[in-house]
Amino acid sequence: MERKTEKFIEELKRVDALVFLVSRRELSKKLKEFLDDRRVKEVYLKEEGISFSLDLGDIKIYTEFKEGIPVGITEENFGVAYSGGLVELAKNAEDKLPSLLPDIHVALIREENIVDDFSDVFERIEKPLPDITFVVGPSKTADIEKILVKGAHGPRELVVFIVR
């Protein structure tokens, strides 16, 4: 495995992300297995944001959010090995919602899009800049007696599929 992929995974685990390393061929199967395992019947995603062809069988795909959909799926533009950061580029606000509204955020990322550091990200994004969001782990708070609670306003869980 490449050094930066290793570091990326190490950092992701540090922020409590669940990580799967899969081949492109087995992505749909592994993703479906994960969703079935969690008894997920509905997912929310923006098709134009995802470059894989996903076959999720009987799982219903929504492109508009509806309260109660447990999983949002996104493809990440970059992964930053330095901090385990997932980088999402968005031209419109609604593109940001699949990684924000549902309880579980499933992030897909191509291994070749993992970079070492932040500066690599900014060098690769064309100007004028879109909106850029760095996502590092599931949302969290420690505002009550410093006790860590995962899932403040955003997802409670982050699941990352690295596709090679």
């Binding site: 031209k91 590092v136 599931p138 899932g151 306003h153």
Partner: protein
């Protein structure tokens, strides 16, 4: 604003062990995490230097960078406003809101919004604004003030929060932090979808791309800035950094110095407006240009509001943020409060420091806080002449120390008289003006023989 009575605040807080314990826990927790995190960042020291250099560049060429930011932000489609003071800022926000017929607002944590006291203002105009950061939401519901920059509700126990949410919001009583958090999550979810506008602050303004940055952990800033169609960011003009190329250096030092995290959960960089939306940036001066023109205070403009100096400050560790009586607390908060709210409000504050230097050491952009505090003390004493008792003591001391005969007899008398005040070889309680001194510390008694006498004896004997 009224004069802040630091001493009175301190007395009140010290009488409340809940606050004292909570603050100690919060600060030591952040410091321990910081050490652990920076041990994994081998170039941390040079990142600090680079960030400092970038801020120095801003300070020495401020108006140019601000112009550049405004030009680029406008090109990005943001509507940029400038406000010279708090009143102007509030009027601008209100005008935007009236134009859009805004009735409810969701807002993510912003010190600048607190600085201009926008909440009571909007309330008076009939606009409902929800603070969405959990800690801020708690203190808003309790009608209190934040006690720590990154942990605003740290002074409250889970019991108090549970009771508060039960009484005010109808939560089924539970003391489980997770359940309380999920209750707030559910409560605010609805508000995000219904709100007419979202507000935020900004941690950074990037001059060369016209972008602004908001960092957070909870996702509430993301919600507030994506769900409503109108986004108003209110921020101080000092948040500038020259280039997106500098940004990595800042993002790498901010979270470790603050909560001790490697990076915050979300870093939101805004550079576009997007379909069907409107984004306003309100840039606030409110005394910052005056700081810039002041050779001593200008360094404080480099602050990136990490809160590290508070965590490490022995005074803050004991008292927390409320003692400072201002939105800006801790060592750097003293300087900001003095600069923004003025001498008459903040004249006690420069003395609320041991000048131990820990804040300077921890500050990611290496602001020499103790030096500035010492300078502010000087200003206070120049204006106020210092307390009468202190002046009298210093003058007396000067007399005694500069006249050998007075010195000799003075100390002799004192060493005899002190028996009335001595207990267990310490002087714990002196009369009249001297009581101000012994109220806070015990002093060693004057020894029976002075140095001069000992010296003479020694010469004789040898």
């Amino acid at each position: 604003m009224e004069r802040i009575d630091f001493y009175e605040n301190a007395r009140r807080i010290l009488a409340n062990p809940v606050i004292v314990n909570a603050v100690q826990k919060a600060t030591s927790h952040a410091l321990a995490k910081r050490l652990d995190t920076i041990s994994r960042i081998p170039d941390f020291e040079s990142l600090r230097d680079k960030a400092r250099a970038a801020k120095e560049e801003i300070i020495s060429n401020f108006e140019d960078f601000l112009e550049k930011f405004k030009k680029n932000a406008t090109r990005n489609g943001f509507i940029v406003h400038e406000a010279k003071d708090a009143k102007e800022a509030k009027d601008i926000v209100y005008e935007i809101f009236s134009n859009h017929n805004v009735k409810t607002v969701v807002s993510s944590k912003s010190m600048t919004q607190e600085e201009i006291e926008i909440n009571p203002f909007l309330e008076s105009k009939g606009i409902v604004k929800y603070e969405t950061d959990l800690g801020e939401f708690i203190i808003q519901t309790a009608k209190q003030k934040p006690s720590h920059i990154t942990a605003p509700a740290i002074h409250m126990t889970r019991k108090e929060i549970a009771q508060l949410f039960h009484d005010k919001l109808g939560m089924e009583y539970t003391e489980d932090p997770e359940e309380i958090t999920y209750f707030a999550r559910q409560f605010l979810r609805e508000k995000y979808f219904k709100a007419d506008a979202g507000m935020s602050g900004a941690n950074f303004l990037i001059a060369d791309t016209g972008s602004f940055v908001v960092v957070e952990n909870e996702g509430n800033a993301r919600m507030s800035t994506t769900l409503p169609k109108l986004h108003v960011a209110v921020t101080g003009i000092e948040k500038l950094i020259p280039s997106i190329k500098d940004f990595p250096n800042f993002i790498k030092i901010l979270a470790p110095s603050s909560t001790g995290q490697h990076q915050t959960v979300y870093t939101n960089i805004f550079s576009t407006v997007g379909r069907g939306r409107e984004v306003h940036i309100v840039l606030i001066d409110n005394g910052r240009r005056k700081m810039l023109a002041d050779p001593v205070l200008r360094e404080a403009l480099m602050c990136i509001r990490c809160g590290g100096c508070s965590n490490v400050c022995p005074i803050f560790q004991l008292l927390g943020g409320h003692a400072y009586g201002s939105v800006y607390s801790g060592p750097i908060g003293i300087i900001w409060t003095y600069a923004i709210f003025g001498h008459s409000v903040a004249r006690d504050l420069p003395f609320a420091s041991t000048l131990c230097g820990a804040c300077h050491e921890i500050c990611p952009v290496r602001i020499n806080i103790p030096k500035i505090l010492l300078h502010l003390r000087h200003r206070v004493v120049e204006k106020e002449g210092g307390p009468f008792a202190e002046r009298l003591l210093v003058e007396l001391w000067e007399k005694v120390m500069t006249h050998p005969t007075v010195n000799k007899f003075g100390f002799r008398i004192a060493s005899k008289a002190q028996v009335f005040f001595e207990r267990d070889r310490k002087i714990r309680c002196l009369p009249w003006i001297l009581s101000r001194w012994t109220e806070w510390k015990d002093i060693d008694p004057i020894p029976g023989k002075s140095f001069r006498e000992l010296w003479k004896e020694r010469q004789k004997n040898s």
